[in-house]
Symmetry: C2
Subunit: 234 residues, 2 copies
């Protein structure tokens, strides 16, 4: 880990809680890895031996049942943290969806480092609390929403989280590529690919969205989409 100081996520990842000396020390125990789409970094149930920072790319967290049913339980982007520090067993798979760069640490190294750096643990705690809130909101989507509501929320969520490289705006984009195929959308929303396809076509027919290519979405009528996405009670 030679160039932490020039790392693109230096100021956004948990590293941002550390001063130059701390980052340097952390860098010494980290290793840079490249992942290709479909490559799995952590397997569910294995003794958790690595944690990591995402530098570039998109990865999914997933769990599955023995008959093959799969649920995606999280999607991570650059600057996000991966893995379960402090000795517990990995509870889900971590798999690259795109080409990805990650900065890995052995669990034991990271645990030791974290315990010596309260500022890092604080940052990680804050992130984990936010991720927990986000995941709990997802429970509402999976447990209580219809297919159309799920998709509307998904598209709005994507438009807020996807920022194509080179574009610095913070505002939600009306036109973007999603890093998921239909099966993955289905696995995120707890649906089948057929239902995803049908509801997406409903939106297309109503001119709420356009789908110029398989992976591109254009939101033509954001108000209508927000309307379909059942508003949480707050």
């Amino acid at each position: 880990m030679d160039h932490c100081s020039s790392c693109v996520v230096r100021n956004r990842a948990i590293c941002s809680s550390l001063d130059a000396g701390g980052v340097n020390a952390l860098g010494k125990i980290g290793r840079h890895h490249r992942l290709v789409p479909g490559q799995t970094l952590i397997w569910e149930g294995e003794d958790s031996t690595v944690v990591a920072n995402v530098i570039d790319g998109v990865l999914k967290l997933s769990t599955s049942l023995s008959d093959g049913r799969e649920q995606i339980v999280g999607v991570v982007y650059p600057s996000d943290f991966i893995g379960r520090p402090f000795g517990a067993r990995a509870q889900h798979n971590v798999t690259a969806l795109t080409d990805a760069h990650v900065c890995t640490f052995s669990s034991s190294d990271f645990d030791r480092f974290a315990r010596e750096h309260p500022e890092l643990e604080h940052k990680l705690l804050d992130r984990t609390l936010s991720e927990l809130d986000r995941t709990r909101r997802w429970l509402l989507l999976l447990g209580r929403m219809t297919a159309s509501e799920k998709l509307a929320n998904f598209l709005l969520d994507m438009s807020e989280r996807i920022a194509p490289s080179g574009c610095k705006t913070e505002a939600p984009l009306d036109s973007f590529d999603i890093p998921f195929g239909r099966q993955q959308i289905a696995d995120i929303l707890g649906l089948t690919i057929e239902t995803v396809s049908r509801r997406l076509n409903d939106f297309k027919a109503q001119k709420i969205i356009a789908v110029p290519t398989r992976r591109r979405i254009e939101i033509l009528n954001r108000a209508a989409l927000s309307d379909i996405a059942a508003t949480p009670n707050r």
Copy 2:
């Protein structure tokens, strides 16, 4: 907060990370509250002003849609921690299901205290990571399981988490009271009360469980129940 040293959760709540002096200092900023069933401690969307430890009782975390659909996103037991420290807005309601005792702290007091006590933050981080893992497993249940599978998992989960006062065994109980009505079971599992009732009766007809009273469950055939609860792939 006079008697932290005699608190029943002193050695299980996050307080267990503190020495006598620390607990004493924390006790000074905490206030003891009694809650009655149905009483709400925190409302979703309000500016988060309190966090708390559960001393006794069971509480639910829930979110709802404007049309009344509700999803329970968490259930907390004695020694569990409630709330979102470090300034974010409350994302869900916290409501007592039984008579309950909690030990509350103003967010700002707690935040300040936590930042001065890395051991406390570490403990909280470890718990939050575990809770995140648990919540993510719930996503699989809501997104990919049938009503029967959901109920089987729910019953097994309950049998492991419920320990009636006075009983010190760690083994799962085959006979226990659940602190939920049918509507709440439905809100946990993303079902309707009718479906809960029907599937429960299926289990009864198969002699897998008995339901001597509304709130009591007796597991007659744990193996069959585990069999229905689709096994995660690990």
